[in-house]
Assembly symmetry: C2
Homo-oligomer: 481 residues x 2
């Protein structure tokens, strides 16, 4: 079958927002603005809220537009009794502390008028203990009308009693997250309608939380069909950390959270600087350090894994709410982030910048990676500058978005590749080593289009008889076009 | 101050519906229509649902209109994890099993087009454990933004652990019903807005659940002001079982659930037939038996308690979802119900008929008083006939609605009163005794308007030289006009 993915995603630059932590507004309704919050700049806790809201995001659209962002991916915004809002309480209500449905509507209108698209996070594997249909079972036991919406093992439910085993199916055995019975046609229909509903309201797509947990036959195929029937250009991206071929056959997702790009890119750019306790025993593996040959192998393996049309709509990222931030993983080494960001912004697929990365916000493992967005006096201005530059570079060169990706050289710590679309080729070189390095590319290695102009970065280059020689300082990157 | 109450209520005949039990439709959304329900005709349980819905009520509007009903008072309809729906989960959503907000909108439109008004039940003293703001405290403990919305005594909450004492304020100590902190201005505002919201959506008034539990200064005064600002003719009726002068000063409620009428009316009409186990230790006292003098004293005491304007908008009833049904209290004696219904339909204030009473549906204490509405083959046709007749009588005689109430005679088991408005007087006589009785009223006792026409009921009357002599069979009522 031919695979169709949404064209706009191929050209998008995403910005991932954890809504409780990005921006607070003064527009929140008085009923909710008096909520008891943690200080914005205090270390995040598992259970406290800082009170960021969607009105605050509306206020920051200028900032995001100046950064070059064309799409925002929000971690969950629906009513939820958790600061990350993955414990859904009501799939049809935006959380009151975020401004409610009214704020999302305003955000959609304002963002769309700037050409910025909005992606929401859908948690369809499990709900929360307060979710109406589960709560009814908790209150009414086996007489609940909704008893078949979940998988109850025995009675009474020990939903809040940690001294007894959880006696219903739940995500990773966490009793806070009761798992839907997706084999119940009513449940399935209920979830499908949520998928349709928000697309009808103008949302541009779904990021799907732990979609691999849902085993019901044809679930994601139907989800895709129904969402795309509402908006054929809606983007569907799944949270799959590993080989995602099963979901990327064109009948389910347009892409996945591309941690298969993240991991080697960190291992290459940060190398031995990686702080192991922050990355060990996680679902991705940004260690051990990779040299250029190792990195090239991983990238080629990734590129060989999926159809090209899928690669163009992958969601590529360096970190997220689910990982430590790269600046912390790299133990504060700014060049690691800069080089990885260059690799991110020049890779096929939509780059996604985790809020605050662009101003150097640090953060260890959850919940530390979810700090309040810093005030301007705390910003890393250099990081902000190269983020803007690299985003602008991507926007001005279609080849960086949809051009062929070809690895030209991998020597020591030097990795060189080209992106080619029609008459336009770009060459990207990264020297992840501490020492300066020289790489010579013969004419038959180079793209047929000329790559003789400096577009971004540090280093020198000479072209002699069709041969290109690059001289790269240690820890630097260079883009030619 | 002058008291203003809604004029329409003075002329209304209410019908009280317990939504899970009145009528099922075939219009419920497939997602919800597959819910696991109890059989309609099985004895009600505390935790099971029978699946009545608001679409079903729409289907029955012809029936209600033929009965003469002009207003429906619904026990709660908002999303709730309980079959009675007093455990509110979301004040802005009609329960999905009732058809959701869409069904209520359709009901409002359909009912209004027939001149039938809709009263909803507001539970503003407490919420449920699944209510979002309480659930957040349950999930996040002292770090919840909403911790001041309730009164927490200590941590962790023992919300579902019956082996520990409930450690937060709750209604009657029931941990399923956490009590709002009404001193928190945000909570107060949140509740006020609910009051306004549904009136704006077209609801015609609020029946207020346990309003005496809310002690916050000026709460109900503000509620009245804000609701009446949206619709000056909205009806506000409180669930106060006893002396309600505190709430009926014109600044709070238009009326109360008039159990001070209910109790003596049962004690008089049913007398010694009252099944004590069904009425003992309740908030009203329909025993011991009253003779006519005792009944007259109670009624006069009640009439002296409140301003006349208030009496005209009281909600009068014989039974409800909170009591056993009268037919069961009277141990199956149909005349008890018939005589009490005559007294109800001829009393000042809006009569309210509890669904099913009009077809003789029996029911003991909660939950038995909440049976599924019977199929036509089970109806008491005589009961239906006299309900229709007495409602029609009330509609055709303004004096029965807003006329003066004057007790003319109380002798043995015979109770006689008149209702007079301008040139129209009606005389109502009830012989609650088993034996035939004769009562003679002298000219100076009788209304100045003639009461010389038989309007309803059994018995004979003779007028001689201005004297009226009534001959009433045992257990009968008579209306002259």
């Amino acid at each position: 079958m031919s695979i169709h993915t949404p064209d706009w995603v191929k050209h998008a630059v995403f910005y991932q927002i954890f809504p409780d932590r990005f921006a607070r507004s003064s527009q929140l309704h008085p009923v909710f603005s008096s909520a008891a919050l943690e200080p914005w700049d205090a270390p995040p806790t598992f259970h406290g809220y800082k009170g960021g809201d969607l009105w605050g995001v509306v206020d920051q659209l200028d900032y995001l537009q100046n950064l070059g962002v064309t799409a925002i991916y929000f971690t969950p915004v629906f009513q939820s009794a958790s600061n990350h809002r993955y414990h859904t309480h009501d799939y049809y209500q935006v959380d009151p502390l975020l401004g409610g449905n009214e704020a999302l509507e305003k955000l959609l209108t304002s963002a769309h008028s700037r050409g910025i698209r909005i992606l929401l996070d859908g948690v369809f594997n499990h709900s929360s203990r307060g979710f109406f249909f589960f709560n009814d079972i908790l209150e009414n036991g086996s007489r609940s009308p909704w008893v078949d919406w979940f998988r109850i093992h025995d009675w009474p439910l020990s939903a809040y009693d940690d001294e007894k085993p959880a006696n219903y199916a739940s995500w990773w055995g966490l009793r806070a997250l009761p798992q839907f019975n997706h084999d119940n046609p009513a449940v399935r229909e209920y979830l499908m309608q949520i998928g349709e509903y928000w697309i009808k309201r103008g949302v541009d797509g779904w990021r799907l939380d732990v979609p691999n947990e849902i085993k019901a036959d044809g679930f994601w195929q139907e989800f895709r069909d129904r969402v795309k029937a509402v908006n054929p250009e809606a983007y569907i991206v799944g949270e799959i950390w590993e080989d995602a071929r099963h979901w990327l056959d064109g009948t389910q997702f347009d892409g996945v959270m591309n941690y298969l790009f993240t991991a080697p890119t960190i291992a290459f750019a940060a190398g031995d600087r990686v702080d192991l306790p922050l990355v060990e025993n996680r679902s991705y593996r940004p260690y051990p350090a990779l040299d250029a040959v190792g990195y090239a192998a991983k990238i080629q393996e990734l590129l060989d894994l999926y159809p090209w049309e899928i690669h163009l709509t992958q969601l590529n990222l360096l970190d997220s709410h689910d990982t430590a931030r790269l600046i912390s993983i790299a133990q504060g080494d700014r060049d690691s982030v800069k080089l990885a960001t260059l690799l991110l912004l020049t890779f096929p697929g939509a780059p996604s910048i985790y809020y605050g990365d662009e101003v150097g916000l640090p953060g260890g493992s959850d919940p530390d990676c979810r700090r309040g967005f810093p005030t301007p006096d705390q910003w890393d201005r250099d990081a902000l500058a190269y983020h803007r530059e690299l985003i602008a570079l991507r926007h001005s060169h279609p080849a960086l978005r949809t051009g062929d990706y070809r690895i030209l050289a991998a020597v020591g710590h030097c990795y060189v590749f080209s992106r080619t679309l029609g008459q336009d080729s770009l060459l990207v070189a990264v020297n992840a080593g501490l020492d300066p390095a020289e790489v010579t590319l013969t004419a038959d290695t180079l793209p047929t289009n000329p790559v003789d102009r400096h577009l971004w970065g540090a280093g020198e280059f000479h072209i002699t008889e069709g041969q290109l020689t690059l001289r790269l300082p240690g820890r630097s990157g260079l883009v030619l076009g």
